[in-house]
């Protein structure tokens, strides 16, 4: 792996499998009475979050603490960013205090790449604008692999707001790298032009995407990023694109239903589906900690080909 984790685009299939295998070993730590190993003792990790986040920030923080890193959360709402400091200046100032890693979430696509160029610290992308959210895709892959054993050849339907979703981009890159049959579906106004060039099937019919799927991945309607009317009403969106029990029946009998959160119940997903027997939504959250521990561990060094005895 490289110095930073900026996106799935930079990873090879071997890198991805390495993260997933490491995460599998990390998961056991969370089941111990003492949920902590000394691996990153003395390392400082700064969690720099420019956008609100509960799941991702908590997940990173728990992962860091389980590896014994010293963690620091910069809450941008209470920081000098409000006084007009640029991202680069904030990063240089944090960098001057010599942390080992910076976990960045930012509303602008490419913010992590900027930091990667100017910082010596390792940068982990925790979501940059509409670009990538690599750790989410890795934890999704981990969850799929756990239920389906393999990713290659599986039919995976991704439904919802494709345009604004960094989760979609990271997942499509990862799943196609590993040879999955990826179908994406959403209202034409929320389908990014040219997405089929990423090697996915595009359809406006949710039923077609979901038919015989092994995995259904729902995406959140991101109203905070929508400037303009992309569909007539939330109720109409639910009727045409929402995941209901009836639609789930079109998929394979052992389908799993995923959602990166936060969910809009009754908008993209019906409550009885979100809480139903096929839902692995909370498993995704649990797996997120193990996957982030793996990423932190692997970035703390390089990666060698085989373990020393």
């Amino acid at each position: 792996m490289k110095k930073d984790l900026l996106g799935i685009a930079d990873l090879t299939p071997d890198d991805i499998y390495r993260v997933l295998e490491t995460a599998d070993a990390m998961r056991e730590i969370g089941q111990r009475p003492i949920k902590k190993v000394p691996t990153l003792r003395g390392k400082t990790v700064v969690n720099l979050f420019y956008e609100p986040s509960t799941r991702t920030r908590t997940s990173f923080e728990i992962a860091e603490k389980r590896l014994s890193a010293d963690t620091l959360n910069v809450a941008v709402a209470a920081s000098s960013v409000l006084k007009g400091e640029t991202l680069a200046d904030t990063a240089m100032n944090i960098e001057a205090m010599s942390p080992d890693m910076i976990v960045l979430r930012h509303a602008s696509s490419g913010a992590c790449h900027l930091l990667s160029r100017i910082c010596r610290s390792r940068i982990i992308n925790a979501g940059d604008g509409m670009h990538e959210h690599p750790t989410q895709a890795l934890l999704d892959a981990f969850t799929i692999k756990e239920h389906k054993q393999t990713i290659e050849g599986r039919k995976i339907a991704i439904v919802g707001d494709l345009l604004h979703s960094r989760v979609l981009r990271s997942n499509v890159l990862l799943l196609t790298k590993l040879g999955a049959d990826v179908w994406v579906s959403g209202p034409p106004t929320l389908v990014p032009p040219g997405i089929e060039r990423l090697g996915v099937h595009v359809t406006t019919s949710v039923d077609e995407a979901v038919q015989d799927a092994d995995v259904i991945m729902m995406l959140r309607i991101q109203q905070e990023r929508m400037q303009g009317a992309f569909f007539p009403s939330l109720r109409e969106y639910f009727n045409v694109f929402g995941m209901t029990k009836e639609r789930v029946r079109l998929a394979k009998p052992d389908v799993i239903i995923m959602h990166p959160g936060p969910m809009n119940r009754g908008v993209e997903i019906a409550s009885d589906v979100a809480d139903g027997p096929y839902s692995v939504i909370l498993e995704q959250v649990a797996n997120g900690v193990a996957v982030r521990m793996a990423v932190l561990y692997l970035l703390a060094g390089g990666v060698e080909d085989e373990a020393a005895a």
Partner: protein, 178 residues
């Protein structure tokens, strides 16, 4: 290259160790074996089988990966060293109050055992921990001593001790490489 332990002698050493373990520990119900990855694991299983053959008691057997406890991972932050692969630790029983027999193939500097002790203690509070090794090659860097030794093999720092086990390498043999 010289072979210091062949398959036959290795089997005898392990059988002897199983007897010694039973001789030294009264309460067999309290015993549990934990093998250190990679080659401590099949060794622990073989000793567990021996003890079962002799006494009729089944001894719980766990697997310990010490990678996350190594002292050479998070030292100098400026070095971008490669990171070793981590495998699963599987200890599916409570170690509280147990006598843990920690099993590894080679005892050398003692750093692996130091890490293993730290790792074990994160799982609970064993009544005692005893160390079983197939080969003690000397040259300790830490004050650590084995309780049961298959064979003492004095070595030079430049030499390498290579343990081959059927389960992993297809044959049982210990050799010293220059």
């Amino acid at each position: 290259m010289s072979v210091v332990l062949d398959a036959d002698r290795m089997a005898r050493s392990l059988a002897r160790i199983a007897h010694e373990i039973l001789e030294r520990n009264r309460g067999i119900e309290e015993l549990a074996l934990v093998g250190i990855r990679t080659r401590g694991v099949p060794l622990a299983r073989r000793i567990a089988k021996s003890i079962q053959d002799i006494s009729g008691h089944e001894i719980p057997c766990g697997v310990l990966d010490i990678t996350l406890y190594r002292d050479d991972l998070s030292g100098n932050t400026s070095t971008v060293g490669p990171q070793p692969v981590i495998h699963k630790t599987e200890i599916n029983f409570s170690i509280d109050g147990k006598v843990i027999l920690l099993v590894d193939d080679v005892l050398y500097t003692g750093r692996t055992i130091r890490a293993a002790l730290d790792a074990l203690i994160d799982f609970g509070r064993p009544r005692a921990i005893q160390l079983v090794v197939l080969v003690d090659r000397g040259r300790r860097e830490l004050p650590i001593k084995a309780d049961y030794v298959g064979k003492n093999v004095p070595t030079a720092a430049s030499e390498t001790v290579q343990v081959h086990l059927t389960e992993i390498d297809g044959r049982d043999e210990v050799e010293i490489l220059p």
